[in-house]
């Protein structure tokens, strides 16, 4: 069994899973209209870090002079999760798996020829892992918006196939002129707080975030295991989901069976609030016979934190599973997808011991992970 032993979320909303969970439980969201941020011409809605607060929290730890705010936030997040798990992160039995889409891409502004070594994703991964004295080369997963759950799948396989005892999975992405401009030119962003699955939805909100999950093969951790995971391509389009939802359907079917479906407390959707993503997810769940299961998207709470999203959302879902609640999906009022899903703007009680998490992204990629409550801490 691969259990979750430690976790941390670090966003503009706060530091620490419990702190962030309690704030969103109380209705907070860091999403706000940003005008002139990063010097992009159009305003956008996002939850952002205070970079000086990251530096302050990092203090005079080693590397303070050369590390970027993204890397500092990764170290801080991982330190907290490792402490909670009580593992030895410097051991050769521990592997680091990093999920990020754009890393330190903002450094291109001052190094337009790409000459800053910190632009390399492997460099950030190594910088972070070496802060813990870990002797293994970290694994750096770059699977677009699914990276955060793909990294968990890779970590589980490294534990099961290669005999590592623990894996430290860190998801991290920051916003920049680069990332915001790119999504704006794709016309993917909403000018308001996003509304997943709603009729009025008109795009996503980008955000910043960092999160860590420590997975272990020893013990039951916090009482939630990563039971299964699957990645599938729909071979349809590099930047649009398949209308038939074939890839997402295949990924879900690979991790579900009748018994597991009967025990589902909820489904944690990708739910970016773009027209095509949300429609595709509804088709996939309908095809799997899961459209009646309580479902939630956290994108109208946290925004889309790209490489961090899969890790942040997994942590929130684990805490919700333990507390036996399904989170609300703020902004969802009227169904706007082909097959209605069970979404709500209110908290609901959760019955069942499992949750399914799904994500999809550019490159035609889809992923699904399944988690099970195994007991109490």
């Amino acid at each position: 069994m691969v259990a979750i032993a430690g976790h941390n979320i670090y966003t503009g909303l706060g530091f620490g899973s419990r702190a962030v969970y309690d704030r969103v439980r109380a209705g907070s969201s860091g999403l706000a209209l940003r005008e002139g941020t990063f010097g992009v011409p159009e305003p956008f809605v996002a939850s952002l870090f205070d970079r000086s607060a990251i530096r302050e929290r990092f203090g005079d730890r080693d590397g303070a002079g050369t590390m970027t705010p993204l890397e500092m936030a990764m170290v801080l997040s991982a330190e907290d999760a490792v402490r909670m798990a009580g593992i030895d992160a410097s051991s050769e039995d521990t592997i680091f798996v990093i999920s990020t889409t754009k890393g330190n891409v903002e450094l291109l502004e001052n190094a337009p020829d790409g000459g800053d070594p910190r632009l390399a994703l492997w460099h950030s991964a190594r910088t972070v892992a070496s802060r813990f004295g870990n002797p293994n080369e970290p694994v750096c997963v770059s699977n677009a918006c699914t990276s955060g759950i793909c990294a968990q799948i890779v970590a589980k396989r490294a534990i099961e196939e290669e005999g590592y005892t623990h894996a430290v999975v860190i998801g991290a992405d920051m916003l920049s002129r680069f990332v915001v401009s790119g999504f704006q030119c794709l016309k993917a962003l909403s000018g308001k707080r996003c509304r997943p699955f709603d009729r009025e939805r008109d795009g996503l909100n980008l955000s910043e975030g960092v999160a860590t999950l420590v997975l272990t093969s020893t013990g039951t951790g916090i009482g939630v295991e990563l039971e299964d995971g699957c990645i599938r391509n729909d071979a349809n389009h590099i930047s649009a989901p398949s209308r038939t939802a074939a890839g997402q359907t295949a990924a879900i079917r690979a991790v579900m069976d009748e018994g597991r479906a009967a025990g589902l407390a909820f489904i944690n959707l990708h739910g970016t609030a773009t027209l095509y993503n949300d429609s595709m997810e509804s088709v996939a769940l309908h095809q799997c016979g899961l459209d009646g299961v309580p479902a939630v998207s956290y994108k109208s709470i946290f925004g889309h934190t790209l490489g961090a999203a899969g890790v942040i959302e997994t942590v929130i879902s684990c805490l919700a599973l333990k507390e036996r609640v399904v989170f609300p999906t703020p902004g969802y009022r009227e169904c706007g997808v082909p097959y209605p899903l069970s979404l709500s703007e209110d908290f609901r009680p959760a019955a069942g011991d499992r949750f399914l998490k799904i994500m999809s992204g550019f490159g035609g990629i889809n992923a699904a992970t399944l988690y099970r409550r195994t007991g109490d801490e």
Partner: protein, 187 residues
Amino acid sequence: MSRIVSYHSITAEDGNLIALYRSLGINYPKFFKMDRMSKAGFLAAEAVLGQAGLRNEEPKDDVSIVLVNSTASTVDDIEFQKTIGDQEYFPSPSLFVYTLPNVVCGEIAIRNRILGETSFYVQERFDAAFLVRAVRWAFADRSIGKVLCGWTECLAGDRVCRMMLVERDGSGGTGFTEETINEIFKR
């Protein structure tokens, strides 16, 4: 043990990727819209899958793609950054979509209807041992029988692409090991 079914390299010495495309007699107009890394990966995959008799549009739900490089999409990132200057601001969607390295996996999957897993990793340098590990992870998915794997780098002057098709179980042929991978790509 896993064995190597077929392999191919595309190097800087192969010259212009469009000329190479033409010389191979391929008819796939989407090729011209691809970024450099996707073009190289696409051509290497054409060769590798062609040798294995899998270069076609039959759905392949038991084939996965695992690719690795060092610079992710930095070459495209540099180009995109040029389009978002203060004076000249004209970000292009067709450029932005290639600023994710795993898109090359998607291009190959679309062309050949590969419906298994696609995974992209970033490592400092080509490392046969890592490729063996990453393919082992892909085979942890029990429904996958073959993995198209390799290294796709597109910096000028570098050997751009080393790709091979690996079969989960098999006898004969070349075993998929660190030693055989290094031997093959040294040639």
